[in-house]
Amino acid sequence: MGTKNWPLWEIFVRSKNGLEHRHCGSLHAADSDMALENARDVYTRRNEGVSIWVVESKHITASNPENNGELFEPAQDKVYRHPTFYDLPDEVKHM
């Protein structure tokens, strides 16, 4: 039995309630149910998560690295777009 025909899935794990799901890697699985179980075994066996999302990799549209100049460089010299001029109360976490 090979996995060469199984599609690739991207795995997102939320490490605890209140935090967002983060991309942690990818794996092969025949369908979404198997992808969830595989993700549980591959990415949360050391107590890393409380929730898992899986999405088939082909459904992700990625930006083209060739366009990085026009997409991202204009943001580099605009420091005023960062909200660093406000004092945040200590109670506000995960900003």
Binding site: T3, A29, D33, E37
Partner: protein, 251 residues
């Protein structure tokens, strides 16, 4: 020996997890895919964790200084009390999954009853193990369905594995002397009462997997009394190699 019946009873439970854990551990680096390889070895580690709880307790109640490691590593083949089912080899992935499924269903209903034991240590161990085993049942059941209701080849292999392993299922419900003594004290589970529920659950799942329930009424037995199939000796020579070659070695 002090508390001999309870000691033997604990070994009867724990040896199933030990031997099955060793079988699943054999797949480390050899699983059919990276993902199933990790899944199988995760199950193996769950089972070894359970074994530690039982053997630590067994060492304590005997009270002659023997440790969990002594109990796991230094017995002879005839002193292992696991059922024949769990020592059957990883012939192919369908056999690995079939063996796991046929044991998991039993394991889950057994632990549900063991939680009611009036031995508080045993009921606490059962309470901890049952979450792990619920996942094992889900994993192995899903694979039985996938392979059974899969391609022509996977269906044939899954059916072949179920047919071959079926003869080892009845032994799960045999009582040993230690079983009878512990049931009488309200410590042990009366496994004879689990049989009907077991075959009902297994039958339903097999049906869902478009497999047929084997009709053979002839069953193997002996593991619980220490009479094993030829496979256990080879398994133990792997399991015990380090302790036999370098006695008292630690790491």
């Amino acid at each position: 020996m002090k508390n001999e019946n309870l000691y033997n009873y604990l070994l009867g439970i724990a040896d199933n997890s030990l031997i099955l854990g060793q079988r699943m551990g054999e797949l480390c680096g050899h699983g059919p895919s990276l993902e199933t390889d990790i899944a199988c070895t995760n199950i193996s580690l769950d089972l070894f964790g359970q074994v530690r709880s039982y053997f630590q307790y067994a060492g304590k109640i005997v009270g002659d200084g023997r440790t969990e490691d002594d109990i796991a590593m230094l017995r002879k083949e005839r002193d292992y009390k696991n059922v024949l089912l769990v020592e059957q080899p990883n012939t192919n992935f369908a056999f690995t999954i079939g063996r796991q499924f046929l044991f998991d269903v039993y394991h889950l209903i057994f632990l549900a009853e063991l939680q009611k034991s009036n031995d508080l240590t045993l009921s606490a161990i059962a309470n901890k193990c049952i979450k792990e085993v619920s996942y094992h049942v889900r994993f192995s059941s899903d694979w039985v369905k996938r392979l059974g209701d899969g391609t022509e080849e996977s269906k044939a292999k899954m059916q072949e594995a179920i047919d071959a392993l079926w003869t080892y299922t009845d032994e799960l419900f045999h009582q040993t002397e230690a079983d009878v003594a512990m049931v009488a004290k309200g410590i042990g589970v009366d496994v004879t009462k689990l049989k009907e529920d077991y075959y009902l659950r297994v039958g339903e799942l097999l049906k869902e997997a478009t497999l047929h329930v084997p009709e053979s009424k002839w069953f193997q037995k002996g593991g619980k009394e220490g009479i094993h199939t030829e496979h256990l000796g080879y398994l133990l020579s792997d399991l015990q190699y380090m302790q036999r070659t370098y006695p008292n070695m630690e790491w």
